[in-house]
């Protein structure tokens, strides 16, 4: 069978294309390398989900090689040796199943970083080939279709909106949110309700949030979280036009005459198959999308598919920043407050964008999200294992008891731009192959010093806020190590085929029927998590593909 569309991957970059194209009557095939799990199969099982990473590949079978600079030299370490896992949820719906759903739009200036701000030496910053106004209708579309809850509140960096407010009200909030608001008021900054891709009540077949208290890292058992699977693929499947083949690993894309002719994949029985379609959409998450193109080299594209410009894999970006914590000791509060402070379930839902642009230097700043320490118990208990050296017995027990019963840890996460640079890119490792016989991605993760400095400024602001709230033991860490779950770039879009991989519609400059709809297209990432932008852009790409298909008919 020749499908209209074949999509590689099934996460946030894939879902909108599958949703729109199958609803429009086109035959869609999704090839997902991982298994297919539905909400009744998700449990708050810290061992299976988080400590054994059951929804990502075994690192001895499929891995990455990470290049870090050590003492002035680049050093490569396979993740099977380091345990630093760069997979992010390889099942139907991809990593959107496991996100926390902190959703922020980019701001208009984020589309024009090069034009708006002073040049950063050693950076490869470019403006986007589209403006905010072109993406805005799609941000709004994600709010209603994927389901984003929140409340619009005026603040200096509020982006223009085509609708007055979010379609869903905020989820229930923890008492600490009100304490946060009071502290912000004292400090004269705007406490923002963080928009969340979480339904506060049931809509259609998706149940509203059940406030289990474990959102990030876990699949949602109510369907409230706006994963691509819950929010989009279910609808696509109902049209009868969408087929999802799980456990189907695409090892290369075949091409002839400037078109992708087939996706060569290994099916669940380890047999090699070919999927044929009129249009191919790549959405395997940034690192893997670049890797697939590089692994698809052929005579016409000796350096990798769509890579005669040499740009595939280049300018990989992550989210720069870091995190910090403060402790709220129960002894500092009355009995009722302690009871409320201990409650698990309601969300903090607070963020600050007061310093999205730094007032003194007029440099780009970022976003600070506030939340409680993840409630995963083993990882919390493990923090008690060291006191200069390993401790055990009653000493260990006393420390664990202190951590669990004396206080609650409030945390913050700093998101700022990861400056694209020549030392952050995807290539293929020369020797290590995965269990399918394909070369694995080698990822150089060089961070720009500028980002660390901006991160430190934001972390200091966040620490001030925790201090104002009465937290103790406040600390933070801004690191050049990237968060492996926040990746984008590698197949930039742009007007110039010499310096970009994709055109402004995210179609490969060099292949007329190949689109890339995950975060790979982003030349810069904004100072926010990427998922909302990936969803929005994928809806935009879907419209571009629809226009092409309609023209042909």
């Amino acid at each position: 069978m020749i499908y209209d569309i074949c999509i590689v991957g099934s996460g946030a970059g894939a879902g909108p294309v599958a949703y729109e194209l199958s609803k429009a009557g086109y035959k869609v095939l999704i090839l997902e390398k991982g298994g297919w799990y539905e909400r009744e199969e998700f449990f708050k099982d810290e061992i299976g989900v988080c400590r054994r990473s059951s929804f990502t590949p075994r690192l001895d079978e499929e891995q990455h090689v990470i290049e870090e600079k050590e003492e002035g030299k680049w050093s490569a370490t396979p993740t099977s040796a380091s345990g630093w896992d760069f997979w992010n949820g390889n099942i139907v719906g991809g990593s959107s199943n496991f996100m926390s759903g902190y959703f922020h739009r980019l701001k208009p200036k984020d589309f024009r970083l090069k034009s708006e701000y002073l040049k950063i030496e050693g950076s490869n910053i470019v403006d986007w080939p589209i403006g905010y106004e072109e993406l805005e209708p799609y941000y709004a579309k994600v709010e209603s279709i994927v389901g984003i809850s929140g409340k619009v509140e005026p603040h200096p960096f509020l982006e223009p909106r085509s609708t007055p407010d979010f379609p869903y009200p905020p989820t229930h909030e923890h008492i600490i949110s009100s304490w946060f608001d009071k502290s912000c008021q004292k400090q004269g900054v705007h406490a923002l309700r963080t928009p969340r891709a979480i339904l506060p009540y049931s809509v259609g077949e998706r149940r509203g949030c059940e406030y289990a208290g474990y959102c990030g890292s876990y699949g949602c058992s109510s369907g409230a979280k706006g994963s691509a699977r819950e929010a989009l693929l279910h609808t696509a499947l109902k049209t009868g036009n969408c087929t999802i083949e799980a456990n189907a690993f695409v090892r290369r894309l075949l091409s002839e005459d400037g078109r992708v002719s087939a996706a060569e994949y290994v099916d669940k029985d380890d047999k090699v198959q070919l999927a044929r379609a009129k249009i191919f959409v790549l959405a395997a998450q940034a690192i893997e999308s670049s890797r697939l193109l590089l692994n698809s080299a052929n005579d016409a594209f000796p350096h990798g598919l769509a890579n005669n410009s040499g740009q595939v894999g280049k300018n990989l970006i992550f989210s720069a920043g870091g995190a910090g914590t403060g402790a709220f000791y129960y002894e500092d509060f009355n009995e009722d407050e302690v009871l409320a402070l201990k409650s698990i379930g309601p969300f903090v839902n607070r963020s600050l964008q007061e310093w999205y642009e730094l007032p003194e230097s007029k440099e780009k700043g970022g976003t600070i999200d506030f939340l409680f320490e993840h409630p995963n118990a083993v990882s919390r208990a493990k923090r008690a294992m060291y006191e200069g050296k390993l401790v055990w017995g009653d000493k260990l027990k006393a420390k664990i008891l202190h951590h669990f019963k004396a206080r609650r840890i409030f945390t913050f996460e700093v998101f700022c731009d990861w400056t694209p640079n020549d030392d952050c890119y995807v290539s293929l490792d020369e020797t290590i192959k995965d269990r399918y016989g394909m070369r694995v991605a080698k990822v150089r993760i060089g961070a720009h010093q500028h980002d660390l400095r901006v991160g430190e400024i934001l972390a200091a602001k966040a620490e001030e806020m925790l201090r104002e709230m009465g937290a103790r033991e406040i600390s933070s860490s801004i690191s050049p190590s990237p968060p492996s779950n926040l990746q984008a770039g590698g197949c930039r879009f742009g007007d110039d085929p010499a310096s970009s991989v994709l055109n402004k519609e995210c179609r490969a400059h060099e292949l007329s029927n190949l689109y890339v709809s995950d975060g790979s297209f982003m030349p810069t990432g904004g100072s926010v998590p990427f998922t909302w932008t990936i969803y929005a852009n994928s809806f935009r790409v879907a419209d571009a593909i629809l226009a092409v298909l309609k023209k042909k008919i």
Binding site: R58, A377, F404, K405
Partner: protein, 178 residues
């Protein structure tokens, strides 16, 4: 739904058995069954020593650590070298017991066991071994009881921990590959 039918955790059904059946399982995979049975016993006793029952809270025995370590040693999701390190570490601990006290770790007095663990944890292998044992003790303390430990949710109750819901309650629900 399509799921890849792998063999992972196909042995999990037996993981709630006690340590001795773990030793028997290991004996089938190795040429020195007696040695491995001993290593398992040393591993368990090291765990008992590292996390004993006390006024402060439950101990490794209360948690059913033997059942949990049985699961760990058979879980293919944990790299084989990591699992074997646990037993290798136990064998080195036993060697150290003979070197320092002229007898098996199993025969040492409580104080002697404690001193020996402190001594070996100053070496890299010993620190790695003790770290791993403690890691799995804490997993046993706070994992879903379906894994065979945290009996009657003793760990969660001790720390007033809310584990979230839903929790897995059957072997099938934690067998993600079937």
């Amino acid at each position: 739904m399509h799921k890849r039918a792998l063999s992972r955790r196909t042995v999990l059904g037996g993981s709630v058995a006690v340590g001795i059946s773990l030793a028997l399982w290991l004996s089938e995979k190795n040429t020195s069954p007696r040695l491995y049975a001993k290593d398992v016993q040393v591993l368990l006793h090291a765990a008992y020593q590292l996390f004993p029952h006390s006024k402060l809270g439950p101990g490794a025995v209360d948690l059913h650590i033997s059942a949990y370590l049985s699961y760990v040693l058979q879980d293919e999701r944990i790299m084989e070298e990591e699992r074997h390190y646990l037993l290798k570490g136990a064998s080195w601990l036993e060697e150290s017991a003979f070197e320092n006290y002229g007898k098996s770790f199993l025969s040492l007095a409580i104080d002697e066991k404690e001193s020996l663990l402190h001594k070996v944890s100053r070496d890299r292998w010993g620190e790695n071994f003790v770290y791993r044992v403690l890691n799995y003790i804490l997993e046993a303390l706070l994992s879903a009881p379906v894994y065979g430990s945290n009996a009657k949710e003793i760990g969660w109750k001790w720390l007033e921990h809310n584990p979230g819901f839903p929790q897995p309650s059957t072997k099938k629900e934690i067998n993600y590959d079937l």
